[in-house]
């Protein structure tokens, strides 16, 4: 931009802004006649980043709107590191990390302390990390943070509480086949990533039964170290005092010994074809098809954001508009080339439809994928998609909590710290040619695995119409003897 232009902009813009902000004289009759005043300038709040001597990275973001504080620790202790014979370890140990109390406060005392202050500490385990969160009122936060540090550093793994959580996990296994959607996604993940990959695993009675308290203790000893932890604080504090609290709570946490945890593996290639699992007691078939997607740092990432908008991420996408709105074949239909931070996501489209239109549903999904090549996204489609992504970007950053959440994930996986502020430029640069190429590269219908779950009678077409059918057995194995229900309680 020339200097003259810059000056013009600086002086003329506020004037223009004032004029445009005046209420329009008459109501418009068409959407295109609405003139939007420029959006007020908004800077993405930037967290302060510090690194403790023990290697723990801390992100701090002040937000003084309400007298509350939240802490989030991402610990590299995800379910992706579960041993094959103890699938479910991270999830189970993660729950007991919280419910089992600490060396100084047993689980029941911890529950009472938190709940009487409307505070909470919770653990959610994903494939890449255990997410341990704390939220509390401002006045309780300094003390709550000390207790939270104990949960992270000195959990008791109470044996009684382990049994409560195991009970829950076993009950969930027994219910694995009760609902359609969990079956559909669970079996599809196994087909895509392979039965030997943690990304395709599901807990069983046997793997849960094999987990002992020592395993939870060892899991914590191996994974929970400051140099495997990213901590974020957001809320009503001054960064200066927050740094002091964090140092007091975590400063003397010794660095880990550097034991390597092997990254989860997965299958490079799915075996294309039809897969079928029978579920008899429902009026619909679930259909899901696809193959591996890409990692988030793939050069096509921004083009794929646009592809996903066009294909299946919203209510005007091709999938929604053609399969739902026009054909009335489904209520739930969506799809995308999925990305994950540290491994390829899944490129997939799915729907549920009445059993009588199972074949029509498969055909409709395949047609939309083939059409991405035959009728590539037009310039207008690409423009609308880009504009939607750009104009809704503000909602990813309009609250400090949301910004911090994304920064923590980026930090955990070693992505650039300015990832968020690069997003707009990334989308703006996408061209229709890139969208077309990315769609062709990342959605290859001839390589699709197609999974159908539903009743085996009443379909409009036999599944063999679409290729060789591989049966998927979802029958639950019997639990080991000691987990079986005792009769006559």
């Amino acid at each position: 931009m020339t200097r003259l232009m810059t000056r013009l902009m600086r002086h003329a813009l506020p004037l223009l802004l004032t004029i445009l902000a005046l209420p329009a004289a008459a109501q418009v009759d068409r959407v295109d006649d609405i003139r939007f005043p420029p959006l007020a300038r908004f800077d993405i709040p930037q967290p302060q980043r510090i690194e403790l001597e023990n290697g723990m990275v801390v992100l701090l973001l002040e937000d003084h709107e309400l007298p509350m504080v939240e802490a989030t620790a991402l610990v590299r202790a995800g379910s992706g590191y579960d041993p094959a014979d103890k699938i479910g370890l991270a999830e189970l140990a993660g729950r007991v990390l919280r419910s089992g109390g600490t060396e100084r406060m047993n689980g029941d005392q911890l529950d009472e302390w938190l709940e009487s202050r409307a505070a909470g500490i919770e653990v959610a385990v994903a494939e890449d990390a255990a997410r341990v969160t704390l939220n509390s009122l401002k006045k309780d936060f300094p003390e709550a943070l000390r207790i939270y540090a104990d949960v992270l550093r000195r959990p008791a793994f109470d044996a009684q509480k382990l049994e409560v959580e195991r009970n829950r996990a076993i009950a969930n296994v027994s219910r694995q086949n009760d609902d359609l959607f969990p079956i559909l996604f669970r079996e599809f993940q196994e087909i895509i990533y392979g039965p030997e990959s943690p990304y395709g695993w599901t807990e069983t009675y046997a793997t849960l039964g094999a987990i002992r308290r020592e395993d939870a203790v060892a899991w914590h000893r191996q994974m929970f170290h400051p140099d495997r932890t990213i901590l974020g604080l957001v809320g009503d504090f001054s960064s200066e005092e927050a740094v002091r609290w964090v140092r007091e709570a975590f400063g003397d946490w010794p660095r880990g010994t550097g034991t390597k945890t092997a990254a989860p593996a997965w299958r490079d290639r799915v075996t294309p074809g039809i897969y079928y699992a029978e579920k008899g007691d429902i009026p619909q078939s679930g259909i899901i098809m696809g193959h591996l997607g890409v990692r988030r740092d793939h050069p096509d990432y921004y083009a794929l954001e646009v592809v996903n908008q066009v294909l299946g991420n919203n209510s005007v996408s091709r999938l929604f508009s053609n399969i739902r709105t026009k054909k009335g074949l489904a209520y739930a239909v969506a799809g995308q080339v999925g990305t994950a931070w540290d491994h390829p996501g899944m490129a997939m489209v799915f729907m549920t439809t009445k059993v009588e239109t199972t074949g029509a549903g498969i055909e409709a999904l395949l047609e939309e994928i083939r059409n991405l090549k035959a009728r590539p996204p037009s310039e207008a489609e690409v423009e609308a998609a880009k504009r939607g992504l750009l104009d809704s970007f503000i909602f990813r950053v309009d609250a400090p909590r949301r910004v911090l959440g994304q920064q923590l994930a980026a930090e955990l996986h070693g992505y650039p710290r300015d990832l968020l502020s690069r997003y707009r430029a990334g989308i703006e640069a996408v061209t229709p040619a890139q969208v077309r190429d990315a769609a062709a590269r990342h959605l290859r219908p001839e390589e699709f695995a197609i999974l159908v779950v539903g009743p085996n009678q009443g379909q409009d077409k036999p599944l063999t119409t679409f290729g060789k059918v591989t049966p998927v057995d979802i029958t639950l194995p019997q639990p080991p003897e000691r987990l079986r229900p005792k009769s006559g309680h």
Partner: protein
């Protein structure tokens, strides 16, 4: 960071005050300073809350209508209308409105002809086939006039966030968020939506809703709740499934939908709350200009049917392939009853969190269940409804074992006072809930709209804090004794069909 530090400070002050029991009158006052109520001449109420933390705003429109306003034959229509509200209007989504209007009329008469034959005592299959072909042809013709750049497409392109709507037993909500420079777009689209809805692609959308119903049947909890509701109510329309009965979804018409709209979408039956970076001085003229175009018309008639007192315990047992589930409910007054805070206290003490009675007894100590919960206001809140508890039995545990343990806890509420700690915990957490709701424009908009609908005044959201502060142990025992009676109870349980367990066999992964 903020462009309006004064308003932000006021909010912080308010919530600080909320957390200290001394100054409730003042909290309300500071919130009131940022809140403007503006009722249009046609009766539509707008509530604007300034929260300029970021250049965005969210809104929630509540229509005071839900499945409780339906009668047999049109069940599911409130929800169907919600779907149709995304189809645009004459100015949104049409290439040529005059031609499309005609084509849509032709679709409707073709459908009416088909319907008459289909529902006749002895339908002639050949005739039905012919009329069906005729309908398809008319639909084809009508679809030629549709401009794909309709309601959703505009909002998607303009960066709307969270575009959606929900229908429950007594309210329908429409909501999304936009960058704050697009207030006029909101006003244009949302006024057009209710100025003259267009029932384009009605019968295709009806198929979509049928799929939505089927999808709810792919989960055993959906089926159990259907059975539970229909047993618990014998007269009140709360007995009907929100999504509607399949036969009605296969036969109600666009004409029915228009009639429903005319009755229940009178502007006086609508409340819209906007929260975010908005200024009433500039926003209200825009609202007047667009929403003021809608003519006033009489509001809907009140619902006549009142659920008679329950005289007998009801027990529903559903056999299926799924694991057991347990549910029981008791009739209670509508949520605007003075005792609602007491029900909320019972709810919180019974099932909220790891310190709750049901959790400690059933999950932690007896290990009979792995999940317990309760809920005060099922399936709706506007009319007398149900307080329900549910429990998911642990593996190998029967519903009867869970029932016995849950009943013991319910009995204890009737015979013993709750502890000081339990009561204090309820009050502290309810206040913090309100505080947390204020972090999000949409959550706040929804809460304010709902309170204004139920109580006629959004301030009730804050006055509730006073009411819950007054709840005593004696209140809890009194309400527990009034409510937890055998004759006032409906039980629903799902049990595993015996055959299903026999097919279990070994499988290695």
């Amino acid at each position: 960071m903020s462009r309006h530090p004064v308003a932000r400070a006021a909010l912080a002050l308010l919530v600080l005050a909320l957390m200290t029991p001394l100054v409730t009158a003042q909290d309300l006052k500071s919130f009131e300073e940022r809140t403007t109520v503006h009722k249009l001449a046609n009766g539509w109420t707008f509530i604007l809350v300034e929260r300029p933390a970021a250049p965005v705003f969210a809104f929630c429109t509540i229509a005071d209508v839900g499945s409780a306003q339906e009668v047999p034959g049109i069940t599911g229509l409130a929800h169907m209308f919600e779907h149709m509200a995304f189809k645009g209007g004459p100015k949104i989504g049409s290439r040529d409105w005059a031609a499309e209007k005609k084509a849509l009329e032709a679709v409707e008469s073709a459908y009416q002809a088909l319907q008459t034959e289909r529902l006749s005592p002895r339908p002639d299959p050949q005739k039905v086939e012919k009329l069906l072909a005729e309908l398809r042809a008319r639909q084809q013709e009508a679809s030629r006039h549709i401009d794909e750049n309709g309601f959703d497409a505009i909002l998607s392109r303009e960066g709307a966030d969270g575009l959606n709507a929900t229908t429950d037993a007594d309210a329908t909500r429409y909501f999304y968020a936009l960058p704050s420079n697009k207030l006029e777009l909101f006003a244009f689209l949302e006024s057009e939506r209710f100025l003259h809805p267009v029932f384009r692609e009605f019968y295709q959308e009806r198929d979509v809703v049928q799929e939505e119903r089927r999808m709810s049947e792919t989960s055993p909890i959906g089926k159990l709740l259907d059975e539970f509701q229909s047993a618990a109510f014998q007269a009140h329309p709360y007995k009907q499934p929100i999504v509607g009965y399949m036969s009605d979804l296969q036969s109600f018409t666009a004409t029915d939908a228009q009639k429903f709209f005319d009755t229940y979408y009178a502007p006086s039956n609508l409340i819209t709350v906007l929260v975010g970076d908005i200024r009433p001085a500039t926003a209200i003229p825009v609202l007047e200009k667009y929403f003021g175009r809608i003519p006033a018309r009489p509001g809907p008639p009140p619902l006549r049917t009142v659920e008679p007192p329950q005289e007998a315990e009801k027990i529903v047992v559903m056999e299926n392939d799924a694991q057991p589930m347990y549910l029981e409910g008791y009739h209670k007054p509508a949520n605007n009853h003075p005792d609602q805070a007491v029900y909320d206290a019972i709810d919180s003490i019974a099932s909220r969190g790891r310190t709750s009675r049901l959790y400690r007894s059933l999950v932690r100590d007896k290990k009979l269940a792995f999940q317990v919960g309760s809920f005060s206001g099922f399936p709706g809140v506007k009319y007398p409804n149900l307080w329900i508890i549910f429990a998911m039995p642990a593996y190998g545990v029967t519903n009867e074992q869970v029932q016995e343990a849950a009943r013991a806890e319910i009995e204890r509420l009737k015979t013993e006072d709750v502890t000081d700690e339990e009561l204090a915990r309820f009050k502290t957490r309810a206040k913090a809930d309100l505080l947390r709701a204020m972090r999000d424009n949409l959550t706040l908009a929804d809460l304010l709209a709902d309170h204004h609908r139920l109580y006629g005044d959004w301030r009730e959201l804050f006055r509730y804090i006073d009411r819950l502060d007054k709840v005593t142990k004696a209140d809890i025992r009194r309400v527990a004794n009034e409510t937890f009676r055998k004759g006032n109870r409906t039980v629903a349980m799902s049990v595993t069909r015996p055959a299903a367990t026999e097919t279990t066999k070994e499988k290695t992964r």
